[in-house]
């Protein structure tokens, strides 16, 4: 049975090559609030709600696009890493994939629920920022861990 909702196997490597540097740069950008001047642009935007000015449905805004670029890179590359076919994507791997996805959603929302209860105000912004990426991150960790466990147990046989 052909699975057509996954990327070809080679996208996994491309994904890792993009994900690792962009995740590191993303963290640095976030922690040190990097906003290099050459990435300042006037951009078209919708739902503009500036604290100091009026609310507008659409218009132009000034924005530094470094975080947008890194966010897009992280999301696309983690999608590649998460949803590229294994070398031999058979039905058992698909089952592990599904289980890992459910597990990742549970863990992600479990952590989010705890954050709702114990983290407030500005600190919660950090939760929201990380939560944009954590479902995929938890999935990637769990799925690869299960696959490597499988490979190890298969190597013991015969």
């Amino acid at each position: 049975m052909e699975i057509n909702y996954l990327f070809p196997n080679k996208f996994k490597k491309i994904g890792w090559l993009l994900l690792i540097p962009s995740a590191i740069m993303g963290l640095i950008t976030l922690l040190y609030e990097c906003e290099p001047g050459f990435l300042d642009f006037d951009l078209p935007a919708i739902f503009i709600d500036d604290f100091s000015k009026e609310q507008k449905l659409y218009g132009m805004v000034k924005n530094n696009i470094l975080n947008e670029i890194l966010g897009i890179l992280i999301i696309i590359s983690s999608l590649f890493v998460a949803f590229s076919k294994e070398k031999l994507e058979d039905e058992y791997i698909s089952k592990i994939r599904l289980e890992s996805l459910v597990w990742a959603v549970y863990v992600n929302y479990g952590i989010l629920l705890l954050s709702f209860l114990f983290i407030f105000d500005f600190s919660f912004l950090w939760v929201m920022i990380f939560n944009m990426f954590t479902v995929l991150l938890f999935f990637i960790i769990r799925f690869n861990w299960q696959i490597s466990k499988l490979e190890k147990s298969a190597r013991h046989e015969e």
Binding site: D90, E91, E151, S153, A154, E157
Partner: protein, 68 residues
């Protein structure tokens, strides 16, 4: 569900790796089935029966726990 994949394999003298190639699945999947960790789809079960040239019920048998 119990299966006798390992026995059938021994009879035909096929390794896990070779069976995996014949059935077009990974070796881990064959291993997981033999260990009872994974119940294959009907398609894969039928493929295995064809490879071993036996009836499907000769490889796979239900257990009481399957009715629980």
């Amino acid at each position: 569900m119990k299966n006798s994949i390992k026995v059938e394999r021994a009879k035909k003298n096929i390794t896990q790796a070779n069976l995996a190639i014949l059935a077009k699945v990974s070796r881990q999947t064959i291993n997981a089935m033999e260990l009872g960790k994974y119940v294959p789809s009907t398609v894969l079960a039928l493929k295995l029966a064809q490879i071993f040239d036996v009836e499907i019920s000769q490889i796979f048998t239900l257990e009481d726990s399957d009715w629980a």
